[in-house]
Symmetry: C3
Subunit: 463 residues, 3 copies
């Protein structure tokens, strides 16, 4: 068997029994996925997923970055190719390097999918590569493996995508207008039109003006255009915005200062400091708009994007070289919090890639400001150990109820059940430890487990 | 039962048995509380404590910040009101939100007090709010709940308060002159007269001059005044000073430079950098004076005070919005250590709110310099997990004997036994793990447990 | 018994059984020590080691810094004296303070050596000081305690020293030319000739020119001289370089810029920023040369050397006051990685003293760039808990195979088996936890344990 029914539970038998009981209580709850990177087109078109290599290896830079780190070439993996010439060969390379993932969450997610979805029970390796390729390929063509069937099988209740303000959302409309009962929601991610360093930023601003009928060459028109774009998302069920800035810096400029800064930015000759200030101001503007339209705000700072210059030049964005850097929240968020920190009708969910901020900054902030909540550990931190560190370091000051449940943040649709399963098991493991050490009563642990798996995410994202 | 006799001990039966044995060995040792924020007036006047809301909710910003973070208004909690209009209503709000504290140390402390002091055994909730209110209110009027009776019941041996150099210490004198046998000691906290950003700083300096008969308008007079104030504290049993600076920065200016800087500071037009330099210099001056008069020096940097601008404006200091920021010790302390680092007759206790410094900076510093000791995890870090992280990350380099036992750092007198109990249990849990993993012999663990609970704090604070 | 056969294994019986089985599988594997500070002269001359005080106390600043931190004077320990006047007295001081090491790795290493090498079974204390002194002194004179005999007894397969480019390597030559079959390898540590702040830097540059016959007064001659020195090391079996810089900063200057910078440096009036830039550039130059000659590059930034000014003045370098500071890798390494990051024939091993970088920067970097590997936790972090933190925080993103096994990094030859033993046990403890929690199959854990103990270090250092 690739996966064990007691996986991730504490080894100590007493605590394990408690963890198992808690998990049994919540394991059939629907999955709520409020933040991720699946594609609405899959569900609009409902076509079969492609072959195993195209499905599991090529789109997932957390899979191929590990292979790359050990000397496998991206050419051999056909990264960046729209069509794979030899998917079986790519799969074999992956299979023969599968041992590299030992001890990583990627390994747990993949084994879960191989076992639960495809019924495979022998470990993936060079020897079983073809068995895997053939088994998975065959199943992917069956009706029960079509995107909509899997959505149902996965027991999904909500699935959010992440979308540019310039996106037509045609696929979301198509889903809405179909007779399929499912909740696939867009998320408003304005980076392309609020980050002056984004590729094609000036063109994006012009396009935003065209799409909204506003004059985005002036500050007020630009803000209006963003409001109109948000309203369009809102009408298709959007519940949240998402902001992937290099830092958590916010600003609170006067209208005159902001107008002037926007003019410089549009002139295209702003220096780095002004670009940073503009992003900072835009977080505060977005908070203002969230207060108006009720969209929940997600801020996830601290990644150096495209760190590997050569790969970025060859392959473009998102080829696996995002590297976290230290992130300050306590000073950076102050301008925004000075204006909106005490608003009870605003929800801002903070994420981090810098775990040293859990106990030092994030838990104290979320344990005080009414508008703040803590997003789950993610990206490089959504491992079993990472989840435990989050609970251990955040709970003591922020409690459980200033957190917002789990999100899978994934492009890999087939890994969604596995990711939620790991998160639920780790929360049960953490709670079981508290119960076993008499730090929490067992009946309360059942309540909390339910909240962490289901209630908190629905409340936080207003679902 | 609200609390279990084996709470906080490891779940694994072998380690639990060891932890229990260690704890039994130390649980009846007297409590030594060398750093805290109780009020000498309680013991001087020995009047009954007020109602439950006024006692447990209103003064404790670590209680009401959690409620506030979840949308409870401070108006409804009557925060900042000298007299509560409706304490029972405040208590009911608190009770109905008590579930928010699940998994936090606050919950453990409160349950301990409810159970051990007030004999309550049902959990606090909306349903039991009135039962709690009535039970506690009745008991607080009984003689055995007067401050002096509780001091004895708590098995306190020493209790230190924290006081401004401008404080008359009248209550401390009254206690000394009474026939009550107890050790309530003042602590010299000079922030009001050494931090140029402190509210009323210039007035404070003038007042210090008047009280000491020195000309505090000049550098040498100012230093003399501080010496005189320290001597006054010393005569009332004071053993330590306490310094709550934004950073750990120290300086070692020449007399000419210091004289000039002091003149600028008094002129009231110093910029932020000069204010920081002044605080930095004053830490070094305080170390010099400690070498002279033997007062132990406590430095606890790294908190952004009054982070929430609106609440600070409405309610003043200490309404729950102190947020830690990253703190550097290795460079910041160097000027002071260059002068006094090798002094064996000086004791400087370092605290932190930035746990990333435990293994990186604090343990290496304390494991080398004769004058340095490490204070316990506190403030946001005095949770069971926080205490474990401290021991795990500090012991390997600094050992046990460069630490100074526990302090409760609390305004909440009734929580003192609970806080010491948690600390003692966690130290026993940590030691039990070392014994169970054959990293420490059991007889040595008994010695260490005793030292951590009692001996080290008495040595470090020269009690 | 001083040491227990199950030491460091998890207390939970199931996990302990797995850990014991894993350890049994690897405990007899040869020790590979690719990075350390033993002296080739010991093996060239093969003379008896001196008395216990000279062997265990005087050379090991991680022993005497603990004593110093608790008020023992360095004079009493005769630190810095070439010959000890009263080694028994020094030993007695050490013995009577041995309790200070409770809970530290130093204690485990020493107990291991006392028990395994010298057959001592009573604990070291004031009472047993003389027994220890006499027993150890007697054994050290026996032939089986000569350096070469111990090398064999320790089951060492490779032992690397650390050497200045100016070192004659006469002892390494003598070993090579002897008929003794052992592998004692030099390591190229160019700090004395690439760090402008190194004592005697300008003299060192001149000496390097004389030794290599190159004109080190010009940039190209200086680089050639370094190439020649590396080749000389290479010819004596050297496999790696080692770089102990204050920061991880790298640079990629043009030849004209580098030439100009070198000229300023040699003029002796460069400011701190230029000195830092020069070190930064030299890391990139060293990477270029490693690509040419195949030497593995070890970078270990982040220590403030000689933090204690007074002790540095009195005793010189390496008297125990190296204190870590925060270290940034993600921005600092970028210039080097922009040039060489994607090279599969280059190996750069990154070390840290700032554990907050494990999950935030180091694991993401090593889990992506083909040239990067992670060195083991060391220096202040090679404790059982420190090793666990490394595995917990690095494995999830970098896996096991981007790490390079253990190195002992020690001057204390007699502690080498103990240090490897602790590392092996902790890796088995970590793996046992993964197996017990069904996160890794048992057969895979055996493979990984073998790799961590033996295979990875040989691969990484090209042995």
């Amino acid at each position: 068997m690739l996966i064990h029914e007691d996986r991730l539970f504490p080894a100590e038998p007493g605590a394990r029994t408690i963890a198992r009981a808690l998990y049994t209580h919540i394991k059939t709850l629907p999955l709520v996925s409020p933040h991720g990177h699946t594609q609405a087109a899959w569900f609009a078109k409902n076509e079969p997923f492609p072959d195993p290599a195209k499905l599991f290896v090529q789109p997932d830079h957390y899979v191929f970055r590990m292979l790359y780190s050990q000397g496998v070439s991206l050419e051999d993996l056909e990264i960046g190719q729209p069509e794979l010439k030899d998917p079986r060969k790519v799969w074999r390379i992956f299979a023969s390097h599968y041992y590299l993932f030992r001890g990583t969450p990627t390994r747990m997610w993949l084994d879960f999918a191989f076992h639960e979805l495809f019924g495979l029970s022998e470990r993936l390796s060079e020897a079983t590569a073809d068995l895997y390729f053939d088994t998975i390929s065959a199943k992917l063509r069956a009706p029960e493996f079509l995107p909509r069937a899997l959505y149902k099988r996965f027991n999904l209740e909500v699935l959010a995508t992440t979308d540019s303000p310039l996106d037509s959302l045609a696929d979301h409309k198509a889903i809405r207008d179909s007779n399929w009962k499912a909740r696939i929601l867009p998320t408003f991610r304005p980076d392309p039109v609020v980050d002056p360093e984004f590729d094609g930023f000036l063109d994006n601003i012009r396009l935003l003006g065209e799409q909204t009928g506003e004059d985005t060459a002036v500050w007020t028109g630009y803000l209006n255009a963003l409001r109109i774009a948000r309203a369009r998302f809102h009408s298709l069920g959007c519940k949240a915005t998402d902001h992937g800035h290099p830092t958590a810096q916010t600003a609170d400029l006067s209208t005159a200062e902001a107008t002037d800064l926007f003019r410089r930015i549009l002139a295209g000759n702003a220096v780095a400091q002004q670009q940073e200030l503009f992003r900072a101001q835009m977080l505060t503007e977005m908070a203002q708009m969230s207060l108006e339209d009720g969209l929940v705000m997600q801020i996830h700072p601290g990644s150096v994007r495209n760190h590997n210059r050569k790969l970025h030049q060859l392959y473009g964005r998102d080829v696996g070289a995002d590297i976290p850097r230290p992130t300050n929240y306590v000073d950076a968020l102050r301008p925004l919090l000075d204006r909106f920190g005490n608003e009870r009708n605003l929800t801002i969910i903070l994420f981090t890639l810098d775990e040293s901020t859990y106990s030092r900054e994030l838990a104290p902030l979320a344990g005080h400001y009414p508008c703040l909540r803590l997003g789950p550990p993610w990206w490089f931190s959504d491992s079993p150990e990472g989840m435990l560190r989050f609970r251990e370091q955040a709970t003591e000051t922020a409690g459980f109820y200033n957190t917002v449940g789990f999100n899978d943040d994934t492009r890999a649709f087939l890994s969604i059940p596995a990711r939620h399963d790991v998160a639920r098991r780790m929360d049960c493991a953490f709670l079981a430890k508290l119960v076993a050490e008499h730090r929490l009563a067992e009946d309360e642990a059942f309540d909390v487990a339910h909240a962490l798996a289901y209630d908190l995410v629905k409340q936080a994202y207003r679902l």
